[in-house]
Point group: C2
Chain length 410, copies 2
């Protein structure tokens, strides 16, 4: 096997250059500040976790977990999300803290290298967890906060699709009693948003025509409050009914938040159904094929860490938002760039001026020693070409053009 | 081997709870803002790098590198510092950018688990690299910026010890010509700050008395400008002389920055002598046994990435600074905490009030649905005990005590 070349980095990871970092930091700061105002406080957990604790509890597929061995031979993982680590902390360091707990984070997370091109092995998520509150109001809070966070991140046009795992679970167990594999196959199709495949499966299952039509009709269950009414009529299953009742309550509270225009109910939205236990949602920005956030209720996770509790939350897909921000970054404000060039004899005045300017707000001041013009002082020649002319120009035009202002001390 | 318990995490890594994260974020923000004002722009590089590129180029001892295998069998490392990754980026993505380049970072870095108790496997560094400027002014700039950064981080009393690798290299090759192993042994003692061991070695080497005394005398070479004069007399070696001349120039520019009070020359300060090529420095806070920052000139690193260039920089040991900040955190300002409790029928007014308050600056507003007092509405009983009395108290006294203000909508 050949050695990697000096400039190479592993597959699926990337460098963020200053303009990009400035945008990423702006998103991070504004979103975390928004979350702070809603009472969420930041937490940082380690990059490495035990596979047997956080690894198996995470919602990430096992083959996508980035696994390695520590020196004692224990399997560790690079965290794949922040939800499972936070559950671990809630059940250990924070075990004496009263519920509800509101926690936020901005973090890099990892996936095992994929052979598929363009898949990222390391990327950022910014999110919250609201632990210990099973009310529809808690679900509505995280959806409303996701909306506020997307706005804080500068996303203007987006929609949140809101579903409920319980509705599909209830509907399918009523329509396909005992056929759990068939139920899973249908849910898998919906998770992949593969509506053609979903219809095909239904035809293959040899169902009564009215059952098939009913199950097909859910593909059209997208919209506002009225969708809840239609769904209620579709299934008499207790779990499905309860799900719809809960979702209607969430919808009503979202109305009280004044954010209904951003939300649509989509009962085919199932999220990761091995993980979520109730409401699930995804955010879509206009002009972007991928979701920019996802979240939902996961009431079964905390008990895996021996502190059973209801929980709901979401994560922004920060890298996707960064891509959007890069597209319309004309508005990004650049601080004023100043260069102070000085000959050795004027170093004190020059640096004093730099200190003075740096006390101002939106300014970046670089300093540079340059060789004095010929005859001024007996120093070796500098690296900067000196322009001819009456004055003492110490800085070349090409360098000078990089700054908003050049101040020369000669 | 027994499985880790659910609450356990790998050796040497830690969780940062909200109060600590708030302090860490304050340090990070203030230090990066200080660096930005000096013209340094942030960069982010991947957590994973190839061992054969960044791993071998890093200044971290091989056995302390956190190594693992990727799926193709290539050895990768969790980055051990940011200097080598930045060198890789400067030589690749930024290869067309004119020097000098000023880059800053705040990043977690990794060391292979140590068996010694209390050693951290993951911790934070906040630092800068100034690439493509070999002048004493560039060295002075990073020292002065280290001082400004420590101040921005809230460290009040500290000293920077300033040395030069070239002085010791020159002095030792003059005093112990050809005896490179003995030279390394002496440097190793100085690196460990083991002055007793250093003296012992000198006695064992069987040197002329005046050479031994001379080499011993450098242990007293700590102080201001006058140290430079004394050192100049100690060695006529060209490299040593050149080092002292350079250091005096750095000292003078630091005088022009007005920061001499924080700096002392310490010619026994050698830093990692396999890595640094010129000036080196370390910062010590009063009341803390460990350095809070370290840095220096490393003119040989960039050529390993095929873009030879002078470079100088430093990193703050952010976790040490965090420990200091925790000790005198009385001054940390906490935002006002408000709880808005509402019965279902008042959700709209309550959430409107929350939105209104969240538009203010230093406030965190939580909302909570509570059961209505008996007889007000026909809802199931809530989880909060209702206090008796004339009014409608929805919130228990113990919960209420966690907030600066509780607003109830009943």
């Amino acid at each position: 096997m050949s050695k990697p070349k000096v400039f190479e980095k592993p597959t699926g990871v990337k460098d963020y250059l200053p303009d990009t970092v400035a945008r990423l930091r702006r998103i991070e700061t504004d979103v975390l500040e928004c979350m702070r105002k809603w009472g969420y406080r930041q937490i940082i957990t380690p990059t490495l976790e035990y596979y047997d604790t956080v690894g198996v509890a995470s919602s990430t597929l096992d083959r996508k977990l980035f696994k390695l061995l520590d020196k004692k031979g224990t399997t560790v993982v690079l965290r794949s999300d922040m939800t499972a680590p936070i559950a671990r902390v809630v059940a250990s360091l924070l075990k004496d803290c009263e519920f509800p707990l509101r926690l936020s984070y901005h973090s890099n997370v990892f996936r095992a290298f994929e052979d598929e091109a363009g898949r990222e092995a390391e990327f950022f998520q910014t999110g919250v967890e609201l632990v210990g509150d099973d009310s529809p109001d808690a679900d509505a809070e995280v959806v409303a906060l996701a909306i506020a966070s997307l706005k804080a991140a500068g996303i203007r046009r987006f929609k949140i699709a809101l579903g409920h795992v319980g509705f599909l679970n209830g509907l399918f167990r009523e329509a396909l009693p005992g056929r759990t594999e068939d139920q899973s196959a249908l849910k898998e199709r919906l998770l992949q948003r593969d509506h053609v495949g979903y219809r095909e499966l239904l035809r293959r299952f040899g169902l009564d025509e009215h059952v098939r039509e009913e199950l097909e009709s859910i593909l059209r269950l997208r919209g506002g409050q009225d969708i809840c009414e239609q769904a209620r009529a579709l299934s008499s299953d207790r779990m499905a009914q309860e799900a719809i009742r809960h979702l209607c309550e969430v919808w009503n509270v979202l109305g009280a938040y004044g954010v209904s225009e951003h939300v649509l109910i989509d009962l085919t939205m199932i999220g990761d159904f091995t993980y979520y236990t109730g409401m699930t949602f995804e955010g879509y920005a206009a002009d972007l094929g991928f979701p920019v956030c996802s979240g939902g209720r996961y009431d079964n996770l905390l008990q895996q860490f021996d502190r059973p509790a209801a929980a709901t939350g979401f994560a922004l897909k920060t890298n996707r938002i960064l891509e959007l921000a890069a597209r319309d970054s004309d508005g990004e404000k650049q601080p004023r760039k100043v260069l102070i060039a000085y000959v050795p004899g004027k170093v004190k005045e020059a640096l004093a001026r730099a200190a003075e300017l740096r006390a101002e707000d939106d300014v970046a001041v670089e300093t540079m020693r340059v060789a004095p013009p010929h005859g001024v002082e007996n120093e070796p020649a500098g690296k900067e070409p000196l322009s001819a002319g009456g004055g003492y120009r110490l800085i070349s035009a090409s360098r000078g053009a990089q700054y908003d202002e050049v101040i020369e001390y000669v």
